[in-house]
Each structure stands twice: as C-alpha cells, then as structure tokens.
Symmetry: C2
Subunit: 330 residues, 2 copies
C-alpha cells in the first residue's frame, strides 16, 4: 500500500467460510430459519459440522469480502480483523493478502480458534449462516491501526462487529480517528437479526458516526421499525450523507446529496449462491465512491459486482470485475 | 457399511486440495510444467502457497475422490489413508464421511501435518498439482483393515501410493488379502511422471497383482514405452483382466473378456476444471463393475461421471450422478 493511504480500510470479523449443500429439511431439522445468520458456540458448531455435508473452505467475513472486492476492482484496501495463529488463521491471512489486501492485525496466540461460518446452501441458492466467532472475540481498540484509518478515504465497518463485546470499542475508535482526519466512515447493517439485537445503538451510530450507510430492505425496515421500503426510505433521509439501500432483484435505491437514485439489478443468467451479494455490492459502490463517480454510477458498480458474485459459489470474485465494470459503466 | 462388505475399498493419499486460479506465466515462473503432478517438500509448499492466489480448500486425494464418487452414485465404499490429527485432517475426515464413505484409519499423532495439494487452475481449465505428502508418508501395512479388504468386491489402489515408501507394503498387503478372499484389485497409474518413477515395479504389479487397470493415454504409453495409443492398447491386452484406458475428449477404450469396447466422451457444455476427471471416471466404472453391468456400460458410467466433475471446480461430485446415469445408461 505504501504511505499514500488506501481507498477503503475495512474492520470486521475474520472468518473462514465452510460451504456445504443442504436441503430445506436439513436446515429445518437443525432448528435454523433459512436465510438468517446465527451465532453459535463451539459445541453447536461441532455438532452442526458433524451433521452437515462435505464442505469447501473459502475465506469470508463480510467486510473482508468487501475489501477483497475493492482490491479486485483495482482499488487499494486494507483489513483489520482477528484470527488465531492456527491453520484456518493462516488460510485467512494468505487468502486476503493474495487478494491484494493489506492485513497486519496480530493473530491471537491463545484462546478460541479462528472463526468459521458454517454455510448451508439450499437448492434455491439461498444460504443459512451459522457463525462461531472464536478468535474474533479478541478484537479490541488496540488492533486499530490509527495511521491506516487516518489515511483511508473511507473506513468501512460491519454491523456484525457489534456482537463481539470489545469490537465495539474498536469500531468507535475507528470512527473517531477517521473523522478527526477528515475522512469518511461507512457501515453495513449486516442482517436484520443483527439490527434487532442492536437497534438503539445502530440508530445512534448512524446519526452520529456514519457517512455512508449500506442496508438491504429488511435491515433498513428493521432499523426504523417500519413495514414498507418506502417508509424506510423516508426515515433514513437526512440521517447520514449517503444511504445505499439494496433490494435483491428489485435493484437498489441510493439516497444522497438531496437526491434519490433508482438503480436496476444487473441481470444474472443463473443464481448459484447468494453468499456475498451485499458484500460485493458495497465493494463496487465504495470503489466508485472513492474514485469520484456519481452516486448513480456507484450504485451501478455495486449492482454489477453483486451480480458476478451470485453467479458462482463463494463470496469472493472470480471474474475480472474491473473489466465487467469498464464495459458496463461509462 | 455394516458387515456386508463394501463395493469398493480405496487406499490412497489423504489430501486436502487448495485450488487457486493462475495464469500460464505464473505456472512457468514457478518452474512447473503445466498439467503435471509434482511432489514438493514443506519449504517449497510454503513458498508456493505464499506466491499463489486466494485458495479454496476442498478434500481431495485421487482414490479418495473415486470412493466418494462411488458413494455418490449409490454404491458403498470405504477409504484407507493417513491424515495428521490437525485441522486439515479433521476437514478431510469430515468431508469423506459426510460423502457417505467409511473412514477409520487412525490419524498420525506426531510428525508432518496433513497432506495438501496446491492446485493451479489455468484459464484453459488445465491444472498443475504440487503435492506435499506430509502425514501420508506414515501410511503402512498396519493401517490396512484386513476385514474391510476381504469383504470389498474391489480394492482400488492409486499409483501415487508408490511414492511414500511404506505405503507400498500397505499396497501389496491389500492385494494379497483381497485375492486370498477371492476378491478383485484395481489400480490407477495416476500420472505419467508417476509411471516414469516406478515403471518396472508397475509392470510387475499389473502382471501379478491387478485385475482392473485404469490409465489415461499418456500413462499407458509411458508404462509400455510406446509412442501411439494403439501400440499401448496392443501391449496391455492379456496383462490383466480389464484395462480401462481414457483419452479425454476422445473417449475411452475398455479391454476385457477378450473384447475391445470404444466409449465416446460425454459432451460437456463448458469445461471449468479438469481436476478429478480420471478419479470420477474410475468411480463411475467401478460402480457399474460392482453392480454387474457390461464393460461397455461401465465405460459409459465412467464417462458421464467424468463429464460432471469437469463442469465445475473441484474433484468431488455436485450434481446427482445417480440420476444422470439412470437417465443416460439403460
């Protein structure tokens, strides 16, 4: 990265995904609600892993996926997150660095192993996530590299970080350092249950600390406790500089600069696995945002990146997104 | 599995694959010849892993892939192979059991870690394999479960086992136990360089210990040191009960019962990754062979299973092979 400062610094849970195919009955038998993210403890993680099908391990983590996407697009990025000094931790570190992302957070040398997210992919390409946070619980404000944050155009935070207790402090420190340096912050609400767990805090956060908010329809409705997308759209206006609201196949609505932009979803031939759709939307959007594009074009870049990621297994890009975007966005 | 005896017992290297996309220049820069399997030591594995792109980890191993394929087809299978009691070892054990394969080999509790195969997949869907054998070097005759082998219709051995020194003894013990129980043995030659390393021993093995031989064109030509497929075909006749010779898009030739059968390749819409093509051909063939099908139909089943595996990343089946075969083979 050098001293120049990166486009986007991400802070989030450092997780290795374990993806397996499953049918709806298996998801129900495990007491899981399809399409949700569930926090599970070590014992439940062992039981679920023992019962689920053959897996494939791929580095994940919501914000980590986003930063890998920014780098894939030709932007510069760095990530802050906690692994253990174990085999999955080495896999995570290798993969994010090999994706061109700076990653210097010291691994934990004791305690729980590297986090893993057991992902059940059903035949409808939906996914149910069960996250064992493991070493992520060790992330604290001492892990925030102030020089990195002060130099980053945008510091991007995942709502999931509100679950591990000390990560909040890292989160608030990051926002403070960024704003004192005249930089911007971005937040993704992560998932509707995450919003349920932390609604009051998230509202205060959006009002006081966040410039760019990412949320899907369910999340933004949950945040403002409203029943319709339009009501949520009215509620979020004026709360932060930009809100990028995604609606799956209905596209996205971008609110900012006193305007509302409607962006259609990018067509996808076959939806294989929706894991990472929101993460890659944020990647495309933030790449555009840190490179001076209009809010509408940022939304288009997000939609194109999201379409690529759902056309194959896994949450990190395979196709050359930079070329796709160069072809499709003027 | 119960006491009834399995259709196919496999013995081979227990390996977790680490697949990454790479271009031809990267393969050449690493001093590798595209499309080959290379044995590498721990230091070289670390260097190559550090240089290669983001990976996805999927359980592999040639014979292990074959047995997982047999189980996927509705057959019964068990696998013998050595992992270490580490994280990749637990991933390997989970994945093969979750595929419905019996796996009871005790893990090594000291020494090198679980084997990994760094696989570089180039844009032409070819793959270059670099295998760090690790714990596989600990496999010995004491790991051969005599009851399992005596009960299995076919015991299937991979040529790669000729590399770790004590595995040969396990290999020969398996053949002896199988034949004393009136069962059959099968061998895959694995790859042409493996044949180069062990040509004389492989010839003696085929003549003295093997009922069903699997080889691709390069391997069978290397075994008999001839320049044409037809010359190899003539050379192998009478050497073993059945020889199944594969030729990629040219299909396969099956020699046995005094007859020669020509089987066309199954059409594939898009070849994504040829990893596991030979392994799954053997799976389809052995499933048919242990269920009383004609040699021609065994070859067709092999071709269909191989076509499925090369249409996606990774060497273990994703589509329901049993249905594919039921549709296509009378």
């Amino acid at each position: 990265m050098g001293n120049a400062g990166v486009d986007v610094a991400g802070i989030g849970n450092a997780i290795v995904d374990v993806l397996a195919q499953a049918d709806d009955a298996f998801v129900a038998d495990q007491g899981l609600s399809k399409g949700t993210m569930n926090l599970i403890d070590a014992a439940r993680a062992d039981r679920l892993y023992g019962a689920m099908g053959p897996g494939r391990e791929v580095s994940g983590g919501s914000a980590a996926n986003t930063i890998a996407g920014v780098a894939h697009l030709g932007g510069t990025g760095a990530f802050i997150g906690k692994v253990r000094d174990d085999e999955l931790g080495r896999i995570f570190r290798h993969d994010i660095r090999a994706a061109g992302v700076g990653f210097e957070t010291a691994p934990a040398v004791e305690g729980a192993p590297t986090a893993r997210c057991l992902i059940l992919v059903t035949p409808d390409a939906n996914r149910t996530l069960c996250t064992f946070l493991g070493a992520c619980l060790e992330l604290g404000p001492e892990d925030v590299d102030e020089t990195l944050i002060a130099g980053a155009k945008v510091s991007y935070l995942e709502g999931y970080l509100w679950d591990p207790p000390r990560a909040k402090e890292a989160f608030l420190k990051t926002a403070k350092v960024a704003h004192e340096a005249g930089r911007q912050t971005a937040l993704t609400l992560s998932d509707p249950f995450c919003v349920d767990r932390h609604r009051a805090e998230f509202r205060a956060l959006v009002d006081g600390h966040i410039d760019v908010l990412f949320a899907n329809e369910e999340e933004i409705c949950s945040l403002y406790e409203v029943d319709s997308f339009d009501a949520a759209l009215q509620a979020v206006q004026g709360r932060c500089r930009v809100a990028a609201l995604t609606r799956s196949e209905k596209g996205a609505v971008i609110v900012g600069d006193g305007q509302v932009h409607v962006v259609d979803a990018e067509p996808v031939e076959q939806v294989v696995d929706t894991t990472g759709a929101g993460d890659l939307f944020a990647a495309g959007f933030l790449f555009g945002y840190t490179h001076g594009h209009s809010l509408y074009d940022c939304g288009r870049m997000g939609a194109i990146a999201a379409a690529e990621i759902i056309s194959h297994f896994g949450a990190r890009p395979e196709a050359r997104l930079d070329r796709l975007i160069a072809e499709k966005v003027a």
